[in-house]
Amino acid sequence: MIERTPLLNIVTHAVLIFGALLLAVPIWLSFVAATLTVAEVNSPNVHYLPGGELWNNLTAAWTRADFGVKFMNSMIVAIAVVIGKVAISAISAFSIVFFNYRLRMVFFWVIFITLMLPLEVRIVPTYAVAANALYPFQAILDFTGISWLIAQFSGVELSLEWNMLNSYTGLILPLVATATGTFLYRQFFLTIPDELVEAAKMDGSGPFRFFFEVLLPLSRTNIAALATIMFVYAWNQYLWPLLIITDRANYSTVVMELRRLIPGPDAIADWNVAMAGTLIVMLPPLLVVILMQRWFVRGLISTEK
């Protein structure tokens, strides 16, 4: 099938190199920009080779954007989102695939439909809930007249409130609830042969044991893949944190702060510092991808059937 002629080899390599350059050149240019002085970066001729100001620019970016605290915040959010997503999607897919209850397909479709609603689309209602997670319950109580009754008998005016603005919970929870992971796990669980489930039953293993001792070890590579994707996704969140975090000193994330490094119209155009900041912010997702890639490639090689 695959022909290997010298000409074809040259053409395929040319395409490959062109693609690689297309991806690599902007990254290289931002790296070079991060190593220049303000004067150099603003000079009309483009620099292609790095200068000697990298360390200075990095420290300038770090202190100006107060990355110390923000890195911590971003880490907390990204790791919590990864853990939350992996756990929730594994459990919900476990329920949908291995248990036979009446509303199973209904729940599956409800989850599936949310796939089509990314956070950006449902951002207004999500904000309303984040502002007071108990608002829907309050509304129900008010509507049914129960709060009125309680007020009559105990004299207490019922007002439920759980505010998640300016908190880690608010940053994390709305990102945890999406369907991608559930769908991924479902597809994997469906490939587990029925006989394996039955063998576990015969061995006396209940659902929990089966989940922890058979399913989870078998889905290691899935977990790695999902965790990688979700770490990058959570790390790169911009709109949502921007919306609910007003206490920027304590709760803002690195991606939000990156915005601050971008020079305004009246300020000095120190793009070298902005690019240095970009390099810093890019580093953790890059490391995660590199580390985890080794992991799931290993998983793919030792095909376990």
Binding site: E195, A199, K201, D203, P217, T303, E304
Partner: protein, 389 residues
């Protein structure tokens, strides 16, 4: 006493009934083989015993305890699956020991048992391997080990040998038989392979379309098939069936549209004198008579033959139907030449054309016994040795 009592068990999938009122009593220590074509409900019946499938109607009890509502783990059964169903992420030792681990056995004790079991199956060198690193035969052994190590009251096998190649299948068959002799646990073995069934079974259960056709020792089932279905299913090549009319005196049957006569046991013949019947003739029960063209003997001309090594299968036509004969030895009739067949009354099986059941005399002993053809002989008294692939 791990006897299993199956009473009027039925199974529905929705409105579709796949097991129809099965009654079966399995004695303690017995090796029962359930034999039937694919899709006849064998696995479903086995899985209802195991507790993997709900029992729609009827009752199953093990050791006099009704198990309908019990979880699989509470029934004391171990099962060997067709595709082995080993845990891919566990080593051989962990696979074998998993049930004990779930059962809460201490690690030291568990390892001891696992090692002993592995040793008895020749797996002691492979304890640290993963299933992916094993051959089909070795995986099969691990699956067996996983069942044995629990010392269950009942062993259930669902076509465990059907994924092995022919040679390994024979070897594992012997081994299962040997194992049963040492463990003496009640065993239920499901297969669609009649050779496997005959050689393993203490008693054979022949199933067809969700019903039991016959229960009996392999000899009984072979020599006195209870129905046309069983007669045709057991034995290879299949039994020849010929529509006949029994003479008024009840001593012979005349094949329809011919003048050929077949002898009939007069005791049975008397009760069905003058009626029409279906006669079953086993290809290996027919002998070619020395004198050709005796007008009273059944005469057939064979068109072609298949060499079998131990003899030859001769194919011809009789009364408008295909007819097969197994000619043993080395001297066979030439193709096209008419041959007369010598047939004794004991090899003429009579079936009722409407009920398709065997015609017997009330109160007579059920079926003759004799020896089975070599291919079906019981694999007792065998010692298995040699390396595992």
């Amino acid at each position: 006493m791990a006897d299993i009592d199956i009473r009027k068990v039925e199974k529905f999938y929705g409105k579709n009934q796949v097991v129809h009122g099965v009654d079966l009593n399995i004695q303690d220590g017995e090796f029962i083989v359930i034999l039937g074509p694919s899709g006849c409900g064998k696995s479903t019946l086995l899985r209802m015993i195991a507790g993997l499938e709900e029992i729609s109607n009827g009752e199953i009890s093990i050791e006099n305890t009704v198990v309908n509502q019990l979880e699989p783990r509470e029934r004391g059964c171990a099962m060997v699956f067709q595709n082995y169903a080993l845990y891919p992420h566990m080593t051989v030792a962990q696979n074998i020991g998993y049930a004990l681990k779930v059962g809460g056995m201490r690690k030291a004790e568990r390892m001891q048992k696992v090692e002993a079991t592995a040793k008895s199956l020749g797996l002691d060198q492979l304890l640290d391997r993963k299933p992916a690193q094993l051959s089909g035969g070795q995986r099969q052994r691990v699956a067996m080990g996983r069942a044995i190590v629990r010392e269950p009251k009942v062993f259930l096998f669902d076509e465990p040998l059907s994924n092995l190649d022919a040679k390994l299948r024979v070897q594992m068959r012997l081994e299962i038989r040997r194992l049963h002799r040492t463990l003496k646990a009640t065993s239920v073995f499901v297969t669609h392979d009649q050779v496997e069934a005959m050689s393993l079974a203490d008693r054979l259960v022949v199933m067809n379309a969700g019903r039991i056709e016959q229960v009996g020792t392999p000899e009984e089932v072979y020599h006195a098939p209870a129905s046309i279905y069983v007669g045709g299913f057991i034995g290879s090549p299949a039994m020849n069936f010929l529509p006949c009319g029994v003479s008024d005196c009840g001593t012979f049957a005349v094949i329809d549209n011919t003048s050929f006569r077949l002898p009939v046991d007069p005791e049975i013949g008397r009760t069905i004198a003058g009626q029409s019947v279906i006669v079953g003739l086993r290809p290996e029960d027919l002998k070619i008579a020395p004198e050709a063209n005796d007008p009273n003997l059944l005469t057939v001309a064979f068109d072609f033959s298949e060499e079998q090594g131990s003899g030859r299968l001769m194919h011809g036509r009789l009364a408008g139907r295909d007819f097969v004969l197994h000619s043993a030895g080395r001297h066979h009739p030439a193709p096209g030449a008419p041959c007369s067949l010598a047939i004794g009354a004991e090899s003429v099986h009579l079936f009722d054309p409407t009920t398709e059941k065997r015609i017997t005399v009330a109160g007579a002993k059920t079926g003759q016994t004799g020896t089975l053809p070599a291919a079906f002989q019981k694999t007792s008294d065998v010692t298995v040795s040699g390396a595992i692939q």
